[in-house]
């Protein structure tokens, strides 16, 4: 980031400080002690945490560090592949956090955390001091975990599991494919970002193929024996795309042991599978800064306290979102948004010498089977001595049998959810 751009960010943030209207939150705000919070990562988790920390205590100095100038959301990137949304539709700027909430925005890459002197080190050489740090780094791809799948391979056989150029690449490949081709989606073993994502992706690609290349097929090679919302997806596929989508479980030959990106071929125990287009979704781990800072364990994910989301490995540092072990909560945008509010309140309390409040967390994941066919899973969670647990007899998935009007209504709510979470996180 140029010095001039950074100055513009900082001036923007400073100018906003004088004009903020916190009136509607005033009754709920307990003025806490002042202090410095730094947030690393500006996705749904980090952005929400920065915003809510300022809402909860406007006296706090909150700085959000983010590498990318704009935020391309993973949610709705499958709709870009399906052709019902554009990349521009899912690209957002973070200026509202500065303008409306006085969050200081710093564009840069955090490369190290010194928990002793409580400083974040940026690639630019700049250091940011903090009293409490929140890390929301999302995921990184484990290149090399499956033989043949490295960064060069991802340019031929996109993962598109981080939205942006990879999404655009996969979309171009789908557009260039001849009618009658097979699109292979390889889905990873648990845990991974967005458990229903590969199956919504199959749906949205099938939607595109059905309307543009109707002799084509989608083959899902899965490392798993079952998947999120399985009955609902498979029922939906039968109804909307009969005969178009085939799912192969791990034990039936779905587990990929090696990739040959140049030949768009995947090796499985049952032989090689060649696709006209191959979307390989590889194994993942917590984002790089979490690994570099010692926040992750040897499996690559971050253990946290289920009440405050403070790291169990590095004191004074909170971790949320896709990077953590969150018990019963999935790695989803809504989960990160919910965890962010709990972690923000915990940080605000701890800076004022108060223990974190008992949390209540929520998740809602909508998926589109078709543009007018939505399904959902939802959950309410609390903290126990064993970690984050779902409240018994609550939550769950859409009904297995439902009128078309109900599926249509859930598709409408899918859109409402997206508008809502973007505003609650960024505006």
């Amino acid at each position: 980031m140029s010095r001039e751009t950074r100055r513009k960010f900082l001036i923007g943030a400073g100018a906003a400080l004088g004009t903020l209207a916190y009136g509607r939150f005033a009754p709920a705000i307990a003025q806490g002690a002042a202090g410095r919070i730094v947030v690393i990562g500006g996705g749904f988790g980090g952005a929400t945490a920065a915003k809510y920390a300022r809402l909860l205590n406007p006296a706090l100095d909150v700085t959000l560090v983010e590498r990318d100038p704009s935020y391309v959301t993973c949610p709705f990137s499958n709709m870009v592949l399906g052709g019902t949304r554009t990349l521009a539709d899912i690209t957002h700027d973070r200026s509202g956090l500065a303008r409306n909430h006085g969050v200081k925005l710093v564009q840069g890459e955090a490369i190290g955390i010194d928990a002793g002197s409580r400083q974040v080190r940026l690639a630019s050489g700049q250091t940011l001091p903090y009293d409490r740090l929140l890390v929301a780094p999302g995921i990184d791809i484990r290149f090399g975990a499956v033989e043949g799948y490295d960064e060069a391979a991802a340019e031929l056989m996109p993962h598109a599991w981080k939205a942006g150029p990879q999404t655009a690449l996969l979309r171009r490949q789908l557009e260039a494919m001849d009618d009658g081709g097979t699109v292979i989606i390889a889905a990873p073993a648990n845990p991974f970002r967005c458990p229903p994502g590969p199956y919504e992706r199959a749906s949205m690609i099938a939607h595109y193929l059905k309307t543009h290349k109707p002799r084509s097929k989608v083959l899902i090679l899965d490392a798993k024996e079952n998947f999120s919302k399985q009955g609902l997806f498979q029922g939906g596929w039968e109804a909307v795309y009969p005969g178009m989508i085939e799912w192969v479980s791990g034990s039936a030959g779905g587990k990929v042991s090696r990739v040959d990106a140049r030949n768009r071929t995947l090796a499985t125990e049952f032989g090689a599978q060649k696709g006209a287009v191959v979307n390989f979704i590889p194994p993942q781990q917590a984002g790089r800064i979490a690994i570099a800072a010692g926040l992750a364990d040897d499996k690559g994910w971050c253990p946290v306290d289920p009440v405050s989301f403070e790291s169990k490995q590095v004191p004074g540092v909170h971790v949320i979102g896709d990077a953590i072990y969150a018990g019963a909560m999935p790695k989803s945008g809504t989960a990160a948004n919910s965890q962010a509010k709990i972690a923000a309140a915990a940080m605000v309390g701890l800076l004022g010498g108060k223990a974190a409040d008992a949390p209540m967390l929520a998740n809602t994941c909508y998926s589109l089977v078709g543009p007018d066919y939505g399904i959902s899973v939802t959950g309410i969670y609390v903290a126990t001595a064993e970690g984050i647990k779902e409240v018994p007899n609550s939550g769950g998935v859409s009904p297995a049998r439902a009128a078309a009007a109900i599926r249509k209504q859930e598709a409408v709510y899918t859109d409402a959810w997206y508008k809502g979470i973007v505003a609650d996180s960024l505006a």
Binding site: G23, R24, F25, A26, P27, A28, K51, Y52, L55, D305, P306, V307, S308, T334, N337, S338, K341, I342, A345, A355, A356, D357, A358, P359, M360, L361, A362, T364, S376, T378, G379, I380, V382, A383, T384, A385, E386, K389, V391, N393, S394, G395, G396, S398, I406, Q409, E410, Y413, D415, A416, W417, K419, G420, I421, A423, D424, A427
Partner: protein, 100 residues
Amino acid sequence: MRTYIKPAALAASLVLSASGAAADAIKPETMARNCFTCHGTGGHPVNGLAPLAGIDAKAIETSMIDFRNDRRQATIMNRIARGLSEAEIAALAQYLSTLK
């Protein structure tokens, strides 16, 4: 300093939190922030969903109890409402009614 909810207290907190009888009662503002993801920060939605800020507490409580007992059919709200006790719903509704 950690405020874990012990398993035995968990069930109690779900029943008693609104009365303050449980040590680790979940505060209504903690619950409410989960509503804001879809229903807008501070209960002011931007997406056409029901506003929650300043709505009559009895109206919200009745809706949530009806969702909880399937007397009123929605999509996800029935499943969500079952995650809260009746006492928690009452406290949440009271809190939302105070938001400007």
